[in-house]
Symmetry: C2
Subunit: 444 residues, 2 copies
C-alpha cells in the first residue's frame, strides 16, 4: 500500500484538496468521508433553488461522488467520522446507512468538516418547520417541507447574506416574509450606515424587516418576540454558523477564535501530517493581521487548493482573507471587503472615511442607477483599509478592485491614479470607487 | 492683476485642470479657450446619442461654460488658439464667431488641445456625408445629417471602440451597417484570437463585418474597396485619432511618439510654466515603461487633475497608463488592460498565456453567460502583464481587477490567492480572472 490521505468532509475545502492531491501525487490513496448525500456543492445557491430560479438540487452539485470515484478518489457518502486517534493514525467512522462503526487508518489527514448552522437557544427552535440552511441536506429538507406546507407567511431569523437571500426567495414564491434581526441594523458585515440602505431596499420590495427585535421563542404557527407574536408557517434560520471543530478539538488540535481550527500559512494544523481548510478552520485577516473565522465558499476552495498542493509535497501558501463578499437582494447589489469602521478601530488603525453617491453607468445613460461607496483608508499612510458598496446592477463586483488594491497595499492616491475602465453603459468616467477615493483625500 | 493661467482646450483634460486650480489656488485668474461650442463633455457618449438611447446633445455635457463661469473660470467658446509665443508669454487667438484675431497673455499655460479624427487619405473623404466622431461639434453635424438623410445603408470605416459602437447605433436605428477594417481582425487593441470573438458577436447581431478589406475611395452613394463597391448613404470614420499638437510643436515644445506632446510625471512639458494633459500628450505605459499615445477620456481627466494640482502649487504625479478600456457592443462586453502578446514581445518580455472560458455568474444560474478571459504573465517572475475579456453582462468590468493587480505588481499566484467576491447571480466561485490565473501557472 502507498500513502493514504484521509479527507473528512466532502464539500469544497475537502474535495478541492483531494483533487489537487490526485493531480500532483497520482500514487497517493485518497479516501474522503462525507456525512451527507452530496459532495462538492454550492450551498450559496440554495436561496436560488428555494426561490425557483433553479429546478433541482442537482443543479448545485459541482462534482458528484461518482465523478470523484472515476478519478480514483474513494468518496464515501453517508459516513461520519466519530473520533480521531492521532497517535494511532486512525479514525472511528460510522456508516450512517448501515448503522455500522469501523476504524479507518490514515497517513495524512485533511480536516474539512465545515460549519454548523447556529441554532439560537430558544424554545421551539427544533420544531420541524424551523430550518437551517448550511448543507444540501438542509436544503432538501427545507424544500420538501415548503412544498408540503405551501407557507403563506415565512419568518427569517437573522439578516446575514443567506438570511436576506432566503427572504427574497420566499417573497418571490408569493409568501409574506418577515426578517427578524436582534441588532439595530441588518447585515453585521456592513457598517450601520450602509446596512440601512439594504434594509430600505428590502422594505421597498415588500419584505418586512424588523430590526432591534429579539425572537424569544418559536411555536407551531408564530414567531414570538418581546414585541408580540408574528404568524409564521415556516421559519428559516439565518443566524450564522459555527466552526464544526469538535472532532479536532477532542483529538487535541489547537483551536483558535470562535472554536475554529488553528492552521499555518500552508494550512497545517498543530499536529504533524494533519491539514485543515474551509469553514472549520481559522484564517488571518490581511489588513488587521488578526485571526478570524470566515465561513465562505471562496475561502474554503482556496484553502483546500493550498492544503492539497502542500499535502502532495508542493509548496504554496494561503495569503489570508479580506472578508470580501457580495450579494444581490431585491435588485440591490451589496459588496464589502477589508475592515469596517469598528473593525479598523479594533485593529488599532486610525482611519479616514468617505461615503459618496455615484452611478453604475454614466449618469446620463437611461438605465444608470445610484451606487453608494464607502471607502476607508489609514490616516497618514493613506493606505486603503476597506470598502462597502450598495447600489444598482454591476455595483457589487467593483469591490474586487478594492480587494486587489488591498492585496497590493495601495493608497487612496494610488486608487485615484489607477487606470480603470470606462464606457458609458458600464461605468462613469471616474469609477465610483475612485470618486470615493477623491472624497477621502482631504481627510487623510 | 494676479497670475493668469491660460487653458487651451475646454474638454476634460483642460477643464479638470481648471477646476483643480480654482479650488487649490482661489486667487489665480483662469481663462479657457475652446474652439467649439461645448465644454467638458462626454465624447464617448456620442454613439448612444446616435443610437437613440439619449435624446439631446446636452445630455453629454458634464459642465456648461456658464457653470464654469459661475466658478470664476473665464471660458471662451468659439475661440481658437492660432499660435503660441512662449518667450513673450502670449497666444494669438481667433474669435471664430466675430472673425477677429487678438493676443492674449499668460503666466502659466495648460495645453489640452485634444486629438483630431484621422481622415484616411482617400478620394471622397471630405464629402458631406462622411463624418468623424471626436467632438460634440462632430456629433451635432453627424446627427443633423443622419436626420436629413435617414440612411438605409451606413458604412463604418475602422473598427476601434467608437467604430463598433457607431455600427451598433445605426443598426439600432434600422440601417444596414457594414464595418470595413483593413487589417485581418477588428479592434487593434485586442489580440487576434479575442478580436475574432467580437467580430462573431457583431455578425450574429446582423452587422456586416468586412476585415482585410481596404477602402480606396468614397463616393456619394458607395464605399469603394479593392473587392468592389458597397452602397452607403452615410459614412462614419472610426479610424482613430491623432494628437492635436501642431500648436505645441510650432512653439518648439518637445514632441514624442505619434506627434504627442512630451510631459513628465507632473504633466510638465519641456517649457517652463507650460503643462499639458489629455489626448494631445504622451503617456508612459506602466508595464513596458515605453512612451505611448493614449487618447482616452479616463486618462485625460486624470492627467488634467494632476496638471491642475501642480499648476496650483501642490505636488502630485500621474502614474502612467495600462491602456485599460471596455465597451459593450451587440450584447457582448469587451475589456482589455496591460500589454497584448505582440506588445509584450515588443517590450522584451517573455510571457506565458492562458485563455479560458468561464461564466459571468455561477454556471448553474439560468442567466449565466460565457466569458472568455485571456491572461498574460511574465515567465519566471509570474508577474501579470495584461488581460483581455470578451463575454456576457458584467464581464468587462472584471478587467479593473487586473488593472489594480498590475498597479500592485501582483503575480498570477497572487491573483489566485486574491479574496475576490462570489455570489451565484454575480460570479462563479472562482472568478473568471482567477480561473485564467490557475490555467496560467503551469506555463510560468
Amino acid at each position: 500500500m502507498g500513502t493514504r490521505l484521509l479527507v473528512i468532509g466532502g464539500d469544497g475545502a475537502g474535495m478541492a484538496a483531494a483533487s489537487q492531491v490526485r493531480r500532483a501525487a497520482p500514487d497517493m490513496e485518497i479516501v474522503a468521508l462525507e456525512k451527507g448525500r452530496w459532495t462538492s456543492y454550492s450551498a450559496c445557491g440554495i436561496p436560488y433553488l428555494a426561490g425557483g430560479a433553479l429546478r433541482t438540487i442537482d443543479d448545485l452539485v459541482v462534482r458528484t461522488p461518482d465523478q470523484f470515484r472515476a478519478d480514483r478518489i474513494d468518496v464515501r457518502t453517508g459516513h461520519e467520522a466519530l473520533s480521531l486517534d492521532l497517535d494511532a493514525r486512525r479514525v472511528e467512522v460510522r456508516n450512517l446507512t448501515h448503522q455500522r462503526t469501523f476504524q479507518l487508518g490514515f497517513d495524512y489527514l485533511h480536516l474539512a468538516t465545515g460549519a454548523l448552522p447556529r441554532r439560537p437557544d430558544i424554545e421551539g427552535v427544533h420544531l420541524p418547520h424551523v430550518h437551517g440552511v448550511q448543507t444540501l441536506d438542509d436544503a432538501a429538507s427545507l424544500l420538501e417541507d415548503a412544498k408540503r406546507r405551501r407557507p403563506a407567511r415565512v419568518a427569517v431569523i437573522g439578516s446575514g447574506y443567506i438570511g436576506l437571500e432566503m427572504a427574497e426567495a420566499f417573497k418571490d414564491r408569493g409568501a409574506a416574509v418577515t426578517v427578524f434581526e436582534a441588532r439595530q441594523e441588518v447585515m453585521a458585515t456592513l457598517d450601520p450606515d450602509m446596512a440601512r440602505l439594504v434594509a430600505k431596499a428590502m422594505r421597498e420590495a415588500g419584505i418586512e424587516v424588523r430590526t432591534g427585535v429579539e425572537v424569544t421563542a418559536i411555536d407551531k404557527a408564530a414567531v414570538v418576540t418581546e414585541a408580540g407574536e408574528v404568524p409564521a408557517d415556516l421559519v428559516v434560520l439565518g443566524t450564522g454558523v459555527v466552526a464544526n471543530s469538535a472532532l479536532a478539538a477532542e483529538a487535541g488540535l489547537a483551536i483558535g477564535v470562535k472554536d475554529s481550527i488553528v492552521v499555518d500559512r500552508q494550512q497545517r494544523t498543530s499536529a504533524e501530517g494533519v491539514w485543515s481548510a474551509g469553514d472549520c478552520c481559522q484564517s488571518i485577516n490581511i489588513i488587521s493581521g488578526a485571526p478570524t473565522h470566515q465561513a465562505l465558499g471562496t475561502v474554503a476552495n482556496k484553502q483546500g487548493r493550498v492544503a492539497g498542493l502542500n499535502i502532495a509535497g508542493r509548496y504554496t501558501t494561503f495569503p489570508g482573507v479580506l472578508g470580501t463578499a457580495v450579494t444581490s437582494v431585491c435588485s440591490t447589489e451589496i459588496g464589502r471587503t477589508g475592515l469596517g469602521e469598528d473593525e479598523a478601530a479594533a485593529a488599532g488603525l486610525q482611519i479616514a472615511v468617505a461615503t459618496v453617491e455615484s452611478t453604475n453607468a454614466a449618469a446620463y445613460m437611461p438605465d444608470s442607477r445610484p451606487v453608494m461607496v464607502k471607502l476607508i483608508a489609514e490616516k497618514g499612510s493613506g493606505r486603503l483599509v476597506g470598502a462597502q458598496i450598495v447600489g444598482g446592477g454591476g455595483s457589487a463586483k467593483r469591490i474586487d478592485v478594492i480587494a486587489a488594491a488591498l492585496a497590493g497595499r495601495l493608497t487612496a492616491e494610488d486608487l485615484i491614479g489607477l487606470d480603470l475602465s470606462y464606457a458609458p453603459p458600464i461605468s462613469p468616467l471616474w469609477d465610483p470607487v475612485q470618486v470615493a477615493a477623491r472624497a477621502l483625500l482631504p481627510g487623510l
